[in-house]
Assembly symmetry: C2
Homo-oligomer: 232 residues x 2
């Protein structure tokens, strides 16, 4: 029987690649998407498309109104999403798109889901290199959460804790694009833009990092953009 | 300016006492209740009454459908809540009422809320002694989560992590009742029973532990019960 894994699937380039990685390792994947009150539905729709493409065993979409908690430009439409920042700026400091404790919350939900369906592993698309400087994308955070998973669950007490995998953690965005391309990830189904318009904006941090990845990997991003990022 | 604290308030005896403790220490308390798909609404209603009694600065009630994740008798009405277990049995093993990763999820939400409102502390009513043997009530779990709070948040990166307080962790249920009584906790407004009927059942683990606490503290529990726990 293949090991069962919960994959946190946002619908973006990174988490779709992580799903492909888990499947390539022979895991029986169950996807978990959290509709946490993002500015738009396009990400959740993309997650549904990707999960369907891969015919995952189960795709759970949980609704959680993090907008009620506040504190982020990603859940609060009255706050601006930064645009046209340089890649240097993107790598520095914690931006307005930081969602307080988001990955702790997502991992907690994935942990509960994993225990409930007796999954052995969680896969999450955290990445420290070409990321937006979020604290909950750092390797040391995941080490701390592994302790939480070991000590705070029935499985942990039974000596078979849920393992937490972060296969992208030290990859560049170009590495992620190359890995995804090799595994046949349907990039055209994914959505990374922080805005929710018909086409990706091309200038938010997430678009810029994605475009940089494709550029450096020497590949073309198949999704349409409103405008290319500023040349520098 | 008083330190601000998020208090996880379920509406039970323990969390209501924790709210009273935070207030007695001069904290500006904001209460967080998570309506996670418990079998009944009585607990959430009790939380609202207690928060109102104490006129907390803010009471946030978040809805999260943990029943969709499954795995617990507390969220799944097709599973039985254990009744009439002896106190020895209650202290042994992890019961069917365990909700996978519940306290990790609750703490994650409290952490996000705390960061968002710039609260310095979280108070949670975990208790290792007279509890039902849940792994996420043990002190070592909270130590691990403190690391998560330090490493996974903006406040942590800024060197001012959110502190996590578990003032009941090593109290007996009698200690909790005595502490609550001393602080004037309105016990009559609280609800601990796992069932959601007009009166508390008296025989689920939660009722039995509560009644034991009052008995050992030499006080009377003001809420009505259907039947007393079995004499042994």
């Amino acid at each position: 029987m293949p090991a069962r894994a919960v994959v946190l699937l946002s619908g973006g380039l990174d988490s779709s690649t992580v799903l492909a990685i888990a499947l390539s390792k022979g895991r029986e994947a169950c996807a978990l998407t959290v509709d946490y009150g993002q500015r738009h539905r396009k990400e959740v729709d993309a997650a549904k498309r990707v999960a369907k493409h891969y015919r995952v065993r189960d795709h759970k979409v949980l609704t959680l109104d993090l907008a009620a908690i506040g504190g982020s430009a990603l859940t609060d439409k009255s706050r601006d999403v930064p645009e046209e920042r340089t890649l240097d700026e993107i790598g520095r400091g914690i931006p307005a798109t930081y969602v307080p404790a988001r990955n702790t919350i997502l991992l907690g939900l994935a942990l509960g889901y994993a225990e409930s369906i007796d999954a052995d592993e969680i896969y999450i698309a955290a990445n420290i290199l070409d990321s937006s400087g979020y604290p909950d994308c750092r390797p040391e955070f995941y080490d701390a959460f592994r302790q939480v998973a070991r000590l705070g669950t029935k499985r942990g007490v039974e000596g078979r804790p849920v393992h937490i995998h972060t296969p992208l953690i030290r990859m560049t965005k170009a590495d992620i694009v190359r890995t995804g391309a090799k595994l046949g990830v349907p990039f055209e189904l994914t959505w990374s833009c922080y805005q929710g318009r018909a086409k990706a904006c091309g200038v938010c941090d997430s678009c810029q990092l994605r475009l940089k990845g494709f550029r450096e990997a020497g590949l073309e991003d198949p999704i349409p953009y409103e405008r290319p990022p500023p040349k520098r």
